[in-house]
């Protein structure tokens, strides 16, 4: 049976456990390496644990070495993590030490064929690439697909403690408690390049409708919106009941992040925008003007 190791993100243990649950649906043996200061709820059945403080966690050079040495003593087919910034930084370092293949932002894994196949959207064109590796373990960061729940049995784990002697670096750590849980949102109102620098309108709609404001990569790159609200391949993958896309062209980068929404409404001046093809309803209108009208109507209803 194939063996997979998931290195959990010390700063996102919940999302890491969702990845455990996701991989457990495949016919493989899943093990977890927990690093950081972990509480019981964040372990699962097959767990290795390195107890590290925040100043040790930022010593990436030594930490990668220790984890790399551990992986060498085992025979894993894949070693993966969620595609968070911290984990991407760490696992790229580990993969270079192991001289092994590394793939970023994987959206699906196919264990069925003779080789492990990783699916990843390409950035240009509307295409997806299937990537294989010549050597094992194959390492990757995986995009959170959401909606997998790990059911936890507290008396059922086989915990192996790994002692390390990683130097603490002098560094000041600040944690940002993210309150924006796009993955769980039922209603998302998203803007793109076509909306321009008018996201204040979306935040007002957010208030009225109790949805969440999100945006495309372009809108985040333009500095209109915080990164944590980005939907798409290098942002979040969401599955709301209703997704309202305002002034979004619909590059594949964005579409992989929201195509699983139950109902998609696109507001776009451009009839041929790519996002229209996956929408249920297309409203041909200017994004900003439409938001203004919608806000006026909502105010009148109040």
């Amino acid at each position: 049976m194939m063996r997979a190791l998931i290195i959990s993100d010390p700063f996102a243990p919940k999302t890491s456990l969702q990845l455990v649950a996701q991989l457990q649906q495949c016919d493989i043996r899943v093990e977890q390496l927990a690093i950081g200061s972990v509480v019981n709820e964040e372990f699962f059945k097959w767990t290795y644990y390195m107890d590290l403080n925040s100043q040790q966690l930022i010593n990436l050079k030594q930490l990668a070495q220790v984890i790399g040495d551990f992986i060498k003593t085992q025979k894993y087919d894949i070693v993966c993590s969620i595609a968070s910034s911290y984990m991407r930084n760490l696992i790229a370092r580990i993969s270079a030490l192991l001289k092994t293949g590394l793939v970023a932002d994987v959206t699906a894994i196919n264990f069925e064929s003779s080789q492990i196949e990783l699916i990843r959207p390409t950035h240009q064109d509307q295409k997806i690439a299937t990537i294989c590796s010549r050597n094992l373990p194959l390492m990757m960061s995986i995009r959170n697909q959401g909606n997998y729940n790990y059911s936890h049995k507290i008396d059922d784990f086989n915990l192996v403690y790994i002692h390390t002697s990683i130097n603490a670096l002098s560094a000041k750590q600040t944690l940002t408690e993210s309150t924006i849980e796009l993955e769980d949102a039922k209603l998302i109102i998203a803007g793109g390049n076509g909306l321009g620098n008018n996201f204040d309108l979306l935040f007002r709609l957010e208030d009225y409708l109790h949805g969440l404001t999100a945006g495309s990569k372009r809108s985040v790159d333009n500095g209109w919106l915080a990164k944590e609200r980005q939907v798409g391949m290098s942002g979040k993958i969401v599955k709301p009941k209703i997704y309202i896309a305002i002034g979004i062209e619909g590059y594949i980068h964005h579409i992989v992040g929201m195509q699983q929404a139950d109902f998609i409404i696109s507001i776009n001046k451009n009839r041929t925008a790519a996002i229209n093809t996956i929408s249920d309803v297309v409203i041909e209108a200017d994004g900003k003007q439409f938001c203004d009208q919608l806000l006026m109507a909502l105010t009148a209803l109040k």
Binding site: L60, K61, S84
Partner: protein
């Protein structure tokens, strides 16, 4: 202080002609190095890029902006290398070069992986941090603000190190000054092929990279039948929909 800037020439904007330009993040990182040199005359900046030889003419502008040397790693054997193989090639060159600091952009617009800088630093066995929001190059160490999203670190990093910088809005990459547009540069740009670099050819390129692309397929998006509505009908429709789903009470 000797600073190496790693840059990639990319073609990202699909609407324009497929012209190679310097990757945006890398250009910001280069600007940080150039600004340090503006204030510290004894600084040397070398740009290192793995690229097709056609970029040579374009790299002349880097010299005209204040870069001291440009090294282009270019060979048919390098083509189609994955991120690890690319890092192996770049690190093979850097192993024989002295430096205090290596800067790169956080990621490229064509791959968005951000792997290469990290892997280069690993092969050189030096410290590396990505997602650097702010750096302050000091004589004995570097002060960095690393932004991983859920967690931020403010830290001192000792030289030598590699820092992968996020694009920041507070600085704007410079252009070549009008008076420097025709500055001769030839001896400052070198092209190195694999005969000189001698990276094991079985470890790089299409055949030697650890990963390879098995196939590329068109995405089949779920076929949906759309309703097209005008602005006014759309507004009525949306209000109705939101009301019936309970978002407007």
């Amino acid at each position: 202080m000797k600073i190496i800037c790693l840059v990639k020439y990319v073609s990202c904007d699909s609407s324009k002609q497929k012209q190679l330009v310097i990757n945006e993040d890398d250009n910001y990182a280069l600007e940080i190095a150039l600004r340090y040199k503006d204030k510290n005359q004894l600084t040397t900046i070398e740009v290192v890029t793995m690229a097709p030889a056609v970029v040579e003419l374009q790299t002349h502008d880097l010299i005209r902006k204040g870069v001291d040397y440009v090294t282009i790693l270019s060979d048919n054997q390098f083509r189609a290398s994955d991120t690890y193989a690319t890092a192996l090639i770049i690190a093979s060159y850097l192993k024989n070069v002295t430096y205090d600091l290596i800067l790169s952009g956080n990621e490229t617009c064509d791959g968005n992986t951000g792997h290469v800088g990290i892997q280069v630093a690993t092969l050189l066995d030096i410290d590396q941090y990505s997602y650097a929001k702010q750096i302050d190059i000091c004589e004995t160490e570097l002060l960095a603000e690393i932004d991983y999203g859920q967690v931020q670190y403010q830290m001192q990093v000792s030289y030598p190190c590699l820092i992968s910088c996020l694009k920041t809005k507070t600085i704007r990459p410079r252009f070549v000054k009008r008076t420097n547009r025709k500055l001769p540069v030839d001896s400052k740009v070198q092209v190195i092929n694999n005969q000189q670099l001698a990276v094991d050819a079985t470890q790089i390129g299409l055949k030697g990279s650890p990963t390879y692309v098995k196939k590329v397929s068109q995405i089949t998006l779920p076929a949906k039948q759309q309703i097209y509505l005008s602005s006014q009908d759309g507004l009525d429709y949306l209000l109705n929909k939101l009301q019936s789903e309970g978002y407007i009470r």
